[in-house]
């Protein structure tokens, strides 16, 4: 009797957590992200300082087209508000906009799985403290767990990336940013 019960539970678990039908082709989602404080921004010529990034928040809207069960490809729009501090300045506000493409694979094809991917985007950063806005390229990896049920999904992702931004103002003229951000993503697939 016990063995039948154990078998039933195992079959039920496998039934629930086994291969899902990949019906939905389109995924829309929203995410919030946070970055802890660290010296992760380099402001080059003539400042030549590592600026301290205070804990910052960002928001992202994204869309994916599901190529198949394991792989999707899409685009995103992201906005980040941050406070920056250098030894020459007190806290000041800065913002960054990103628009780019990203891909994401997953394994296994269960309700709970690990996702791995990458992103590349164009970026624009602004602050009242800078002569002009910065623009350039962001790129990095995406990694973390996710869960999906009946079209709804939730993911906890780390984005580890790098930005190379240039400005046509007088100072600073270059900004390099390496950031590791934690994202909570909610999405719907149909």
């Amino acid at each position: 009797m016990k063995s039948i019960k154990a078998l039933s539970i195992t079959l039920l678990f496998l039934g629930v957590n086994t291969l899902k039908a990949q019906e939905g082709k389109h995924t829309f989602g929203l995410s919030y992200n946070v970055e802890k404080d660290e010296s992760s921004i380099y402001l080059n010529e003539p400042n030549n300082v590592w600026a301290e990034l205070q804990p910052s928040l960002g928001m992202q809207l994204f869309y994916y087209y599901n190529l198949n069960t394991y792989m999707k490809f899409g685009s995103y729009l992201e906005m980040t508000k941050a406070k920056i501090e250098t030894y020459r300045t007190s806290n000041y506000d800065a913002s960054r906009w990103n628009f780019g493409v990203q891909c994401l694979g997953k394994y296994p094809d269960w309700y709970v799985f690990i996702q791995g991917g990458a992103y590349v985007s164009a970026a624009i950063a602004n602050s009242d403290q800078w002569d002009d806005s910065f623009s350039g390229l962001d790129y990095g990896i995406i990694l973390g767990p996710a869960a999906e049920y009946k079209g709804f999904g939730i993911a906890l992702h780390v984005h580890a990336g790098y930005s190379i931004l240039n400005s046509y103002g007088s100072e600073p003229v270059k900004m390099w940013l390496h950031d590791r951000r934690l994202y909570l993503k909610l999405y719907y697939t149909y």
Binding site: N68, T69, C103, A118, G140, I141, A160, Y162
Partner: protein, 175 residues
């Protein structure tokens, strides 16, 4: 001729030779040197193995070795020997013999600085993108790796970080 790949070949194993072009101020030697150092052109070697999860996605592991040549201010050329092992994942589209691949890697690395034999360890991460051609059991890819290395150590300099672009020619066997 240009049809979908067969799903019965699940594994791949390959070697890659990479070229890292010269770049200005792309290596940071932190406390207490605090210098952004130029790097000279150098080569990097990689061994990789992958498992094809689906027609469009594969994941695997890699090992790489490079001798980065640095040009310090008022100094002779110095080298940093670096080894890294980690995992990489890659999507491809379309599922033809000629395809575009896009993915990422993250790994753990060890480095040794030729001046005073200083050691570092830390994290590597970056993206991979480029075209590939697969026919029967053989594949060839031309990939750009754009990544970041962030290492730390207990001696001076205590920090070593590097951002670089690497061009790889990869040959792999699919079975």
């Amino acid at each position: 001729m240009n049809s979908a790949n067969s799903q019965d070949k699940k594994y791949s194993a390959g070697i890659a030779l990479g070229y890292i072009p010269a770049s200005d101020a792309s290596v940071y030697l932190g406390r207490d040197i605090n210098q952004w150092v130029d790097r000279e052109p150098s080569l990097i070697f990689e061994i990789n193995a992958g498992y094809r999860i689906s027609d469009f996605f594969k994941a695997g592991v890699y090992f790489e070795k490079e001798n980065a040549k640095l040009k310090l201010v008022n100094s002779e050329q110095e080298t940093i020997n670096r080894w890294a092992v980690g995992m990489q994942w890659m999507g491809n589209y379309p599922n033809y013999f000629i395809q575009w691949q896009f993915g990422g890697y993250t790994g753990f690395g060890l480095a040794n600085y030729s001046v005073d034999n200083v050691g570092f360890s830390g994290l590597d991460y970056g993206i991979i993108t480029g075209p590939a051609y697969e026919k029967d059991k053989l594949g060839v890819a031309f990939h750009l790796h754009a990544g970041f290395v962030t290492y730390s150590g207990s001696d001076i300099p205590e920090e070593f970080s590097m951002h670089d672009l690497r061009l790889f020619l990869k040959l792999y066997y699919i079975f």
